[in-house]
C-alpha cells in the first residue's frame, strides 16, 4: 500500500516536473527569439549601416543611419549615394512613412503596399513592422539540439496577422546569436533565408554585424546589411520619432 502510494506521488511529481520543464522551455524559446529579433535595436539604439543590394540588373551600395526606441519606433535615413541622400523611413507602431527630399513630400505606405520592397532591397515594409512581433505572433518548438546550436521552429498562432507559414531559427548556444533563419510560405516552401556573419562584441553585446537576405526564387539576388557603428541604450525620446524629424529638420 505504502509502496503504491509512494509510487503515485512519485508519478505525480514526475508529471509536474515534466510539465514545468516543458513550459519553462517554451518561455525560454520565446525570450530567445525575442532577443534574436531585437539584437540590433535593444531598448534603444543608434547605428550606421551599409546596405548592398544585388539584383540581376544592378548593384547598389547605400549608407544609412538609423535610430530605434523599443519595439515600435524606428527611423532610418540614407546618407549616400548623393542622389538619394535624405530619403528616410519612419516606423511608428504599425504605420510606415517615407520622406522624399527631391519632391519634399512625406508619403504614408498604404496597407496594400506593405509587401513592397523597402528602399529597393529584399526587405519589405512588412519586415520593418512585423519582425518585432514575431515572438508574440508565433509558437515555438525546439526541433533539434546539438552541442553548438539549437534549431527552433516558429509556427504562427491561429489568428495572428503574419506573412510567413513557418520560420526556422538556427542559434548558436554559446553566444546566443543566430547563424541562419529560414522563412517558409504558407505552402511550406522555403522562400527566403537570412544568413548572419561577422560576430563581434559591441557595447557589451555579442551580435553578428553582417546580415545577408537571400530571396530563393531569385538565385542571383541578395541584400547585405553590414553594421558599421552600433550603440545601445542611448538617450532617445518618443518625440524624436516624428514626421518633422523624418524630414531631417531638427
Amino acid at each position: 500500500m505504502i509502496f503504491l502510494s509512494l509510487l503515485k506521488i512519485l508519478f505525480l511529481i514526475l508529471i509536474f516536473l515534466s510539465g514545468s520543464v516543458s513550459s519553462s522551455l517554451a518561455v525560454d524559446l520565446r525570450e530567445l527569439i525575442r532577443a534574436v529579433e531585437q539584437q540590433y535595436t535593444g531598448q534603444s539604439s543608434i547605428s550606421e549601416v551599409e546596405m548592398t543590394v544585388v539584383t540581376g540588373h544592378w548593384e547598389r551600395h547605400l549608407k544609412m543611419e538609423s535610430w530605434s526606441l523599443g519595439r515600435e519606433r524606428f527611423l532610418i535615413r540614407i546618407l549616400a549615394p548623393i542622389k538619394e541622400r535624405g530619403v528616410a523611413t519612419l516606423k511608428v507602431e504599425n504605420e510606415v512613412w517615407n520622406y522624399l527630399p527631391k519632391v519634399d513630400r512625406v508619403i504614408r505606405i498604404p496597407p496594400s503596399m506593405m509587401g513592397g520592397a523597402w528602399m529597393g532591397s529584399h526587405i519589405t515594409n512588412d519586415d520593418l513592422v512585423k519582425a518585432n512581433h514575431i515572438d508574440q505572433d508565433y509558437n515555438f518548438t525546439l526541433l533539434e539540439e546539438t552541442n553548438e546550436s539549437w534549431r527552433i521552429e516558429g509556427i504562427p498562432k491561429p489568428d495572428a496577422p503574419v506573412i510567413w507559414g513557418k520560420i526556422i531559427y538556427q542559434i548558436f548556444k554559446e553566444q546566443l546569436v543566430p547563424s541562419q533563419i529560414d522563412y517558409f510560405d504558407e505552402e511550406g516552401i522555403l522562400v527566403r533565408q537570412i544568413l548572419f556573419d561577422d560576430v563581434q562584441t559591441v557595447s557589451g553585446r555579442t551580435i553578428p554585424l553582417k546580415m545577408t537576405v537571400v530571396p530563393l526564387e531569385k538565385p542571383k539576388e541578395k541584400t547585405v546589411m553590414h553594421y558599421r557603428k552600433l550603440q545601445f541604450d542611448v538617450d532617445l525620446k518618443k518625440d524624436f520619432f516624428s514626421l518633422g524629424n523624418l524630414k531631417g529638420r531638427r
Partner: protein
C-alpha cells in the same frame, strides 16, 4: 414577250403588288436593322475591351505581357516602323509602363503609370472621350497626369493638384517626382478607373532612367475581328526579340465572350431569318396561289407550262428585287439613325464590366456590308421559291382543273 407580260401582271393588281412589296420591305428593313444592332453590340464590347487600353495588337519584348517586368524594354527601330506603315493600321502608341505608389497629402494608393505620347495614344484608345473633369495631356506637357475617377477619389485630387509618384527605377534608385493632375476619366471599367494614370512618355523615361525605351506599342487596325491573322502576318517582319499579340491572346476571356456571342447571335439571327422568310414566303405564295385560275386560262390559250413558270419567276424576281432594294434603303436609313443617334438606356441600366469589356447601356448599330448583302440574297431566294412552288403546281395541272380550282 414574257418579260412584258410579267411587268403588266405586276402592274395590273396594284393592291396585291403593294401588299406583297410592303411585306418584303418591312421584313427586310427590320432584319437589316436587327443585324446592325447585333453587330453594334459586339463592336461596342470589343471596343471597350481594346480601345480603352490594349489596342487590337500589342508589340512588346518576348514575355513582357506575362510578367510586366520593367527590364523587358526595347526601342523603336526601322523594321518596327516599316510594320507600322501597313494600310490596315489606323494608329499606334508607344508606351512605357511602371507600377508604384501615388500620393497626395495624407492619401496614397498604388497605381499603374503609362508613359505615352498624347497624339499617338489618342489614335489607339478613346480615354480622351471619357474625361469627366479637366482636359487631356497636350503634346508640350512635361509633367501632366490624367487619371481614373476611382483613383482620383481615393487620392482626393482634382485637376490642378499635385501628385507624387514613387517607384524603383531601372538603376535601382528610388525614382520619385511630382505630377500635375490635368484631367480625370471615367470609363465604367473599375480596373482602369481605380489604377490607371497617363503621363508624358519622356517624364516616365526620365524617372525610370530608361531614356528612349518603351515597353510596348499598342496598335489599332481597321479589322479588329481579323487581328489574329494580321498579327501572324506582321510577326515575320519584326525583330526576333519582340513578339506581337492580338487582343484575343491578351484577353482570352474576351475571345470566348466574342465566340459565345457569335453563337447566340447566330441562333437569334436564324430565328429572325426564318420568321422573315416565312412571312415573305406566305405573302408571295398566296399571291401566286390565288392566280391558279388565271394561269389555267393562260394554259388553255396555249401557253406552255415552262413559259408559265418563267413568267411567274420573272414576276417574283422583279418584285423581290424591288422590295429588297426599298427594304435595304429603309434598313440602312434606320441603321444610320441608330448608328448616329442610338438609343440611350443608361436611365434604366448601368454599364456591365465583363471579361475585360464593358457593355454600355445603349443600343447602337453599325453598318456592315455583310449585314445587308446576306439578308438580301437570302430573302430573294426565299421569294423566288415562294413564287415557284405555286406556279409549278399550277403548271402541272390540266388547264380545266386549274380553271375550276377555287380558292
Amino acid at each position: 414577250m414574257l418579260y412584258q407580260l410579267a411587268l403588266r401582271n405586276i402592274w395590273r393588281n396594284r393592291r396585291r403588288t403593294l401588299l406583297t412589296l410592303s411585306a418584303m420591305i418591312i421584313s427586310s428593313a427590320l432584319l437589316i436593322l436587327a443585324l446592325g444592332i447585333f453587330s453594334g453590340m459586339l463592336r461596342d464590347m470589343l471596343a471597350s475591351a481594346t480601345e480603352q487600353y490594349y489596342g487590337h495588337l500589342v508589340i512588346s519584348a518576348k514575355g513582357y505581357q506575362d510578367d510586366r517586368d520593367m527590364f523587358r524594354h526595347f526601342s523603336m527601330d526601322k523594321s518596327i516602323e516599316n510594320v507600322l506603315k501597313q494600310d490596315e493600321i489606323t494608329g499606334y502608341s508607344q508606351r512605357l509602363r511602371s507600377f508604384g505608389l501615388l500620393s497626395h497629402q495624407q492619401n496614397s494608393s498604388p497605381g499603374e503609370i503609362l508613359g505615352i505620347l498624347p497624339s499617338q495614344e489618342q489614335t489607339v484608345t478613346g480615354l480622351q472621350d471619357s474625361l469627366i473633369d479637366g482636359h487631356y495631356l497636350t503634346a508640350d506637357d512635361s509633367n501632366g497626369a490624367v487619371l481614373g475617377s476611382g483613383l482620383a477619389q481615393r487620392l482626393n485630387v482634382v485637376p490642378g493638384d499635385q501628385l507624387v509618384f514613387v517607384t524603383q527605377a531601372a538603376d535601382g534608385s528610388i525614382g520619385n517626382d511630382l505630377l500635375l493632375v490635368r484631367g480625370i476619366f471615367s470609363t465604367g471599367d473599375i480596373g482602369y478607373d481605380n489604377t490607371l494614370v497617363l503621363v508624358p512618355l519622356a517624364w516616365l523615361q526620365q524617372l525610370l532612367v530608361l531614356p528612349g525605351q518603351i515597353h510596348e506599342i499598342a496598335v489599332k487596325t481597321d479589322q479588329p475581328l481579323n487581328a489574329a491573322a494580321l498579327a501572324e502576318q506582321y510577326r515575320v517582319n519584326l525583330p526576333d526579340a519582340l513578339e506581337i499579340l492580338d487582343w484575343g491572346e491578351m484577353l482570352p476571356q474576351m475571345r470566348e465572350v466574342v465566340a459565345s456571342y457569335a453563337v447566340s447571335r447566330m441562333i437569334i439571327v436564324t430565328i429572325l431569318y426564318l420568321a422573315t422568310g416565312l412571312g415573305i414566303l406566305n405573302t408571295f405564295f398566296m399571291a401566286v396561289m390565288e392566280r391558279t385560275r388565271e394561269l389555267g386560262v393562260l394554259m388553255a390559250l396555249g401557253m406552255r407550262p415552262g413559259q408559265i413558270r418563267t413568267m411567274i419567276m420573272l414576276e417574283t424576281a422583279i418584285m423581290g428585287s424591288l422590295g429588297l432594294l426599298c427594304g435595304a434603303v429603309v434598313g440602312i436609313a434606320l441603321s444610320l439613325y441608330m448608328a448616329l443617334v442610338g438609343v440611350d438606356l443608361s436611365g434604366t441600366l448601368t454599364p456591365i464590366t465583363y471579361a475585360g469589356g464593358t457593355i454600355l447601356p445603349r443600343l447602337h448599330a453599325v453598318i456592315e456590308p455583310a449585314n445587308i448583302l446576306i439578308p438580301s440574297v437570302c430573302l430573294l431566294i426565299v421569294s423566288l421559291l415562294a413564287g415557284f412552288l405555286p406556279a409549278n403546281r399550277a403548271a402541272k395541272m390540266q388547264p380545266v382543273v386549274a380553271i375550276r380550282d377555287a380558292i
